[in-house]
């Protein structure tokens, strides 16, 4: 019994001082009452019938809010700045919904940049005037003034380095930016 208690204490004690380490990007689920008023008003206007999950996303020195829900059989993610004003609408799509000419350009970039890759997630990202974004959410109507980009998460290998990357492309498939996502260790699923 003594051995068991010591083993348990050792595991718990060693882990305690290590918990202070910080990561500069973190997503946290929050309740409806924690979101800013402009965000709540906007979401009530456009999406009052949806079952919405609310998130706060903290980055280095700043934060934003996100509302996620399912509509028209798709996953929607609406991002707001820290004051609660809308920034963009992201809609998850299948890879084959990207126009062929655009997909060719994306594949050309990915083939050139990575040794090997697999696309995990594709989203259409719309930015523009608040009213136009509201129409998009309310009526699934894409107005001309909205600007479209494609956001993609891939798992890829580049110079023996395997990781996840988030990439942003323009509506014609032109590369805009990319960032590497920290690859979570899979030791707890392998051993």
């Amino acid at each position: 019994m003594k051995n068991m208690i010591w083993a348990l204490l050792a595991v718990l004690t060693i882990s305690a001082p290590l918990s202070g380490q910080l990561k500069y990007e973190a997503e946290e689920r929050i309740s409806r009452k924690e979101i800013p008023k402009p965000m709540l008003e906007f979401m009530e206007e456009c999406c009052e019938d949806e079952r919405i999950k609310w998130y706060k996303e903290e980055q280095f020195n700043t934060f934003s809010y996100e509302a996620k829900f399912k509509k028209y059989g798709r996953l929607y993610s609406v991002e707001f700045n820290k004051s609660g004003f809308i920034e963009d609408v992201e809609i998850q799509i299948q890879q084959d919904e990207i126009p062929e000419a655009v997909m060719d350009k994306l594949n050309h970039y990915l083939d050139k940049t990575f040794d090997k890759f697999r696309i995990e997630k594709v989203q259409k990202q719309y930015t523009g005037a608040t009213d136009a974004l509201e129409d998009l959410l309310e009526e699934d109507e894409v107005e001309e003034e909205l600007s479209l980009k494609y956001e993609m998460v891939i798992i890829a290998k580049k110079a023996k380095d395997v990781g996840r990357w988030e990439l942003l492309f323009g509506d014609k498939g032109e590369w805009i930016e990319q960032s590497k996502i920290i690859f979570r260790n899979q030791d707890n699923l392998n051993y």
Binding site: M1, N3, M4, A7, L8, V11, L12, I14, S15, L18, S19, Q21, L22, K23, E25, A26, E27, E28, R29, Y55, K68, K116, F117, R118, E120, I155, A156, K157, K160, D161, V162, I182, R184, N185, Q186, D187, N188, L189, N190, Y191
Partner: protein
């Protein structure tokens, strides 16, 4: 998820199908350390200890209280295969207080990610040598997943849950037996190099006539150097 549910139901049904012979309840503590040798190769070392609180035999009057059961030290070297797979081989040394037991193992594991849920598959073969006994051969398949309790992404200092189920045909001296396992755990992602999991690990082992049942409280610390 559907596959996981079906496999879990089979496991539970199996565990209640046969007369029980020897049930064990105890604590299973594990420290798992892993490090990158280079961008392709990894080394993993696990120290696992089992302590039994209660043991019940076929005759309900034959009960035993607390005893230390064994300590396993396993070292595995793995090589990344493709984007999310890894092939590995290793060796385990087991000390029971009375004897040393040796086991070699080979495995292939891969993961998939769907939304917030990360799925892990593991196929493992192992061979166990014990003094005075024929070699025991085991084939193992484990399906597991983990997901954050809150949000769609697991960040430092967040909680997550994990579940897995594993099926193990066992062959020794031309006799076949079978083991099924289910694990349910709550994890704390302390940082990118540290996580701790506490859970319940249920096991049923049998030879189609009798079944022995095991129930473990598990405490596991994963550390990356």
């Amino acid at each position: 998820m559907r596959l996981f549910t079906i496999l879990s139901v089979i496991m539970v049904a199996y565990s209640f199908s046969f007369g029980q012979t020897r049930d064990r309840y105890g604590l299973l503590t594990k420290v798992n350390v892993n490090t990158n040798i280079d961008k392709t190769w990894k080394w993993n070392s696990t120290l696992e200890s089992r302590q039994i609180f209660r043991e019940v035999f076929r005759n309900p009057d034959d009960r035993m209280g607390y005893r230390y059961e064994r300590t396993d030290w396993t070292n595995v070297v793995s090589r990344r295969v493709g984007l999310t797979g890894s092939g590995a081989a290793g060796y385990m040394l087991r000390f029971t207080g009375e004897e040393w037991i040796h086991r070699s193992l080979q495995q292939y594991a891969w993961t998939q990610k769907r939304g917030a849920v990360r799925w892990g598959h593991r196929i493992r073969w192992d061979q166990t040598w014990r003094s005075g006994e024929d070699v025991t051969w085991r084939f193992r398949y484990r399906l597991g997943f983990d997901a954050p309790l809150s949000g769609t992404r697991l960040d430092a200092r967040e909680w997550y849950w994990k579940a897995s189920t594993e099926y193990i045909p066992i062959l020794q001296s031309a006799e076949l037996s079978f083991e099924a396992r289910v694990l349910l755990a709550l994890g704390h992602y302390i940082s990118d190099t540290n996580k701790i999991e506490v859970g319940w690990d249920g096991r049923a082992t049998g030879d189609f006539e009798t079944t022995a049942y095991q129930s473990w409280l598990t405490v596991t610390w994963y550390y990356s150097i």
